[in-house]
């Protein structure tokens, strides 16, 4: 053995990059599975979970360490470029991705130290007049992927092969036959199919909901999935819910998790009368101006940061992975405007995982560090912040239409 140990020559061989990536992917995959298994053990076993389901492209993507890659991409783009290279480099980027450089506020390309700064460039306000009389203006440059009204039963019309319930995005409701106000998701906190005999809405009416909240690819979603995280719902006490005769187990927990600390009454108070829920999805392409602005005059009350995955949100992948918006890292801003409930949700993507809010310095997305602030509801999958202190009178942070709110940064 001694001779073998001493005399055997050491030879180095290059391993193929693909092998390296496959190893990383496998490592990440096992880590995610372990983490999911641990959290499943921590709460009761019959909680449903969402896993990215879809064709082989989705499977491959879900094994990749997207967040790590996104952070790496961010770091790479923060490397300062040599000054003489900057104008040519940014013009090449602009040519490839269709950036309109003359619209930028700062025309001196040499002053952008790296691509991350150029990507997050400001725009000349004169090139973006804010429509003064429209109820809703576009929060950003981009393409309207979807828009419409939440239909009876919470269905979103079929777009590009995606038929899913917007409710799954926001509230996950179905239409009960006896609901006093079919359009009022605040009333429809119930789930069927698991022995639920019916649910009592926060307002006290007995709701006979015999439909799932929402079904995508055979998986049911509830309010909780969107607002309080997919599989991390906790048995959080909400005002008064404890002693209502809600069905035991999952529905109750979902409801509790969904309505959050203020109780179901907050939700109920948001939606009343002959009102409808409307929605719009604006997709920002890599070359677009990546800061988002307030689409109207509203007051942001609560922010929920879901540290999800970072799949690409390109229309191509959205068609392949319907549950994308529920999986991806996103920041749900909840509040109200003159007609009632208002929410805006920037959703991150692989190349732009960092969502920034100008009025919320604490928000850190796409970060390794776990968010351990005391007011985080442990185990529910999101970090929550309340903006009541921003303005006691308005009980939230007021925003004017067109006011810059924040943006998406590279990585």
């Amino acid at each position: 053995l001694n001779t073998a140990w001493k005399d055997t020559p050491v030879k180095w061989y290059p391993i193929p990059v693909g092998l390296g990536i496959a190893f990383l992917g496998f490592k990440h995959y096992t880590t995610v599975i372990d983490r999911e298994r641990k959290s499943a053990d921590a709460t009761d076993s019959d909680r449903h979970e969402i896993h990215p389901t879809g064709p082989w492209q989705v499977r491959i993507l879900s094994t990749l360490p997207l967040k790590a890659l996104s952070r790496l991409w961010g770091k790479f783009n923060e490397i300062p470029l040599p000054v003489f290279l900057r104008p040519a480099g940014f013009k090449l980027y602009a040519w490839v991705f269709g950036v309109n450089i003359p619209e930028a506020k700062n025309q001196d390309l040499k002053s952008y130290r790296n691509l991350a700064e150029f990507f997050y460039r400001e725009i000349d306000p004169a090139t973006r007049p804010i429509h003064s009389s429209a109820a809703i203006v576009s929060p950003s440059d981009g393409k309207v992927l979807m828009l419409g009204e939440v239909r009876e039963g919470g269905r979103v019309e079929n777009v590009k092969g995606m038929t899913y319930s917007l409710d799954a995005l926001l509230s996950g409701h179905g239409e009960p036959s006896t609901s006093p106000n079919p359009a009022s998701p605040a009333v429809l906190f119930a789930r069927d199919g698991e022995g639920a005999t019916g649910a009592t809405s926060p307002g006290g009416e007995v709701v006979q909901s015999h439909e799932e909240f929402a079904r995508i690819n055979g998986i049911s979603y509830t309010v909780g999935e969107l607002f309080s995280g997919v599989d991390q719902a906790t048995s959080h006490k909400a005002d008064g819910l404890e002693d209502q005769s809600l069905p035991p187990g999952e529905a109750k927990r979902d409801v509790a998790a969904a309505v959050g600390p203020k109780g179901a009454s907050w939700f109920r108070s948001q939606i009343d009368g002959a009102k409808r829920l409307y929605f719009a999805v604006v997709y920002l392409a890599p070359g677009d101006y990546h800061r988002f602005h307030s689409p109207t005059e509203w007051v942001v009350e609560t922010r929920r940061h879901f540290a999800g995955e970072l799949f690409s949100v390109s229309p191509y992948l959205q068609a392949l992975l319907p549950s994308l918006f529920i999986l991806n890292e996103r920041v749900v801003l909840l509040g109200r405007w003159r007609y009632g409930f208002f929410s805006m949700t920037p959703v991150g993507a692989t190349n732009v995982g960092s969502i920034v809010l100008n009025f919320d310095r604490e928000l850190r997305t796409n970060s390794l560090a776990k968010d351990t602030r005391a007011d985080t509801l442990e185990g529910h999958g999101y970090a929550e912040a309340h903006y009541q202190l921003a303005s006691k009178l308005l009980a939230g942070h007021p925003l004017r239409r067109g006011e810059e709110m924040g943006g998406f940064r590279l990585g």
Binding site: I123, R128, P129, I130, H131, S133, A134, A135, I136, V137, S138, P139, S140, D141, G142, K143, V144, L145, L147, G148, E149, V150, L170, A183, Q270, A274, K275, R276, L277, Y278, F279, A280, V281, V282, Y283, L284, Y289, H290, R291, F292, H293, P295, V313, F325, R330, W337, Y339, G340, F341, F342, S343, M344, T345, P346, V347, G348, A349, V352, G402, F408
Partner: protein, 39 residues
């Protein structure tokens, strides 16, 4: 990246009352500040 808006607004079909309606279509390219919907 993507921005999702969901909000409550007066129903478009209310009698005698103006309701919300979209003034852009799906697939249209929009600029920040451009009108999307009116009441």
């Amino acid at each position: 990246s993507t921005v999702v808006l969901v909000f409550e607004a007066p129903e478009g079909k209310e009698k005698g009352k103006a309701g919300f309606r979209w003034i852009v279509e799906r697939g249209s390219v929009v600029k920040m500040g451009q009108a999307l919907g009116v009441v």
